[in-house]
């Protein structure tokens, strides 16, 4: 059977949205036979799938340096462990078709499933919490680079318009004590939609509300989509509460509301964005919303340099570093489109999961570009070459 014949049924099912990455292994062709001469195998958290899909498409179409991303989603701690121990991936993976192969494909669609015949050790692993949050340490042979910032929210069904905020102390009692905590209206443990202990969404919240991951009360779910479904279909919407990556919440604002969060020692509760309805992530970027982690990308290397040049190229694009040859697309645009925050737009940073914030000044600011991409509005001055103050970058007078 020719490769094209093997792929035809998959493409048809994929177009119908019926193929999950790990489903129907008997139908999937070998990943090695996927189009493209340069392939990078990735094992990523499910919150990063929107970025990987968008980047996968752009890289397939990237004439200066075309790369096929082949990926699978798994929990952050599982991913760290896998690349540390060279654990091969044996479940079905997925890759993104190029525009020439499937012009109708969008990131809302599933990838094309493939089988990593004989198992495949990932070239890149991703965690969306600090490695130390998983009680793991990386071997010297693994290089760790920080990518965009991933924020997390507590969400309620849209029908709940009464509750607009939750405090550190309330969250401590809700998830640490469950029903016994007596925090109204979140007293029904069956209506607390949480994640399993290896997932970054749970781990990040665990560190931010001082409730150990293993002690959380609630219904533990494997996928973010299951949390969305649990909240959206709850028969007790006033009591339902779930944890999500902010980009997952953003994609489901029509059926969910996020809660403002007041951290320990904070005077007021804030949303990740300026308001409940805006999309600027201003409070994440300036330190008023504290529940976030840098995304961590890991690959084999030495002295901070990734060995595999294709993997290095991919990580540099994600981390906002120089990638040569220059890509034929704007990686910042893809990052913003995936609902995460490029490092160059941040004004605070931290050194450990849920740790103290401190001021941060990226070497090359992209705040103006970020605001324009995320909200279509910016107060920054436009420019072509120079600015009275700051640096002309991307058509705007950036701070630096």
């Amino acid at each position: 059977m020719q490769q094209g014949e093997r792929m035809r049924p998959l493409l048809l099912l994929s177009a119908l949205g019926l193929v999950a990455i790990a489903a129907a292994p008997s139908l999937a062709a070998p990943c090695e036979d996927a189009p493209g001469t340069t392939k990078v195998y990735m094992q990523v958290g499910d919150t990063q799938e929107p970025l990987i899909k968008a980047l996968g498409r752009a890289l397939r179409d990237n004439t200066p340096n075309p790369i096929t991303l082949v990926y699978i989603t798994s929990g952050s701690c599982t991913n760290i462990d896998a690349i540390s121990k060279d654990t091969p991936i044996t479940a079905n993976m997925g890759y993104i078709p190029s525009t020439a192969e499937d012009p109708a494909w969008t990131p809302a669609m599933p990838p094309i499933a493939c089988t990593p015949v004989g198992g495949k050790v990932p070239d890149i692993a991703n965690s969306n919490v600090f490695v130390s949050a998983c009680n793991l340490t990386l071997p010297a042979s693994i290089v760790e680079l920080h990518g965009p910032v991933q924020a997390y929210v507590l969400a309620v069904p849209e029908a709940n318009t009464t509750d607009r905020a939750i405090t550190f102390e309330e969250a401590y009692f809700v998830f640490g004590f469950g029903t016994a905590g007596g925090i109204q209206p979140w007293v029904d443990e069956a209506q607390l939609f949480i994640r399993t202990v290896t997932k970054s969404t749970l781990l990040s919240w665990a560190f931010n509300i001082s409730v150990p991951a293993a002690k959380w009360k609630g219904t533990r779910l494997d996928k973010s989509s299951e949390v969305v479904t649990g909240l959206g279909s709850s028969l007790s919407p006033a009591k339902a509460l779930g944890i999500l990556g902010v980009e997952v919440y953003d994609a489901n604002r029509n059926k969910l509301n996020s809660l403002a969060f007041r951290a320990r020692g904070q005077q007021y509760a804030y949303f990740p964005d300026s308001t409940a309805t805006s999309t600027d992530k201003k409070n994440v970027r300036d330190g008023h919303y504290t529940v976030w982690s840098p995304t961590i990308y890991m690959a084999k290397g030495t002295a901070g340099a990734v060995t595999n040049p294709a993997a290095a190229y991919v990580i540099n694009l994600i981390a906002g570093k120089t990638a040569l040859p220059a890509p034929a697309f704007n990686p910042v645009s893809l990052i913003v489109g995936a609902g995460i925050i490029p490092d160059c737009a941040m004004r605070v940073t931290r050194d450990q999961e849920g740790g103290d914030l401190r001021p941060y000044a990226p070497a090359e600011s992209c705040t103006c570009s970020y605001e324009k991409l995320a909200t279509n509005v910016t107060s920054c001055q436009t420019c072509t070459t120079t600015c009275a103050t700051g640096t002309c970058r991307g058509g705007f007078c950036e701070e630096r």
């Binding site: 005077q267 804030y270 008023h288 504290t290 103290d356």
Partner: protein, 83 residues
Amino acid sequence: MRTRLFSALACALASLAACDDDGGGKDQPDAGVDAPVTPRCFEGTPTTHLQLMNACVTAEVEKIDKRPVLPLLNSDGTLPIIP
């Protein structure tokens, strides 16, 4: 003013929700001549964790003041250990 601000923030951090709001803050009505005037946001250039979280924001930013009932809070205002 600065001393009172840090005092309020330190109180909030040390005893979590147990801190009483001593009122008269920047965005609250004057409680009287002798009442302490304590801003509830940090007005300078923030450099610490507490200052960053509590830095004053523009009117466009929505902030929510929530003082919840916490039935299991210890009598001294501390949080009980999770079972």
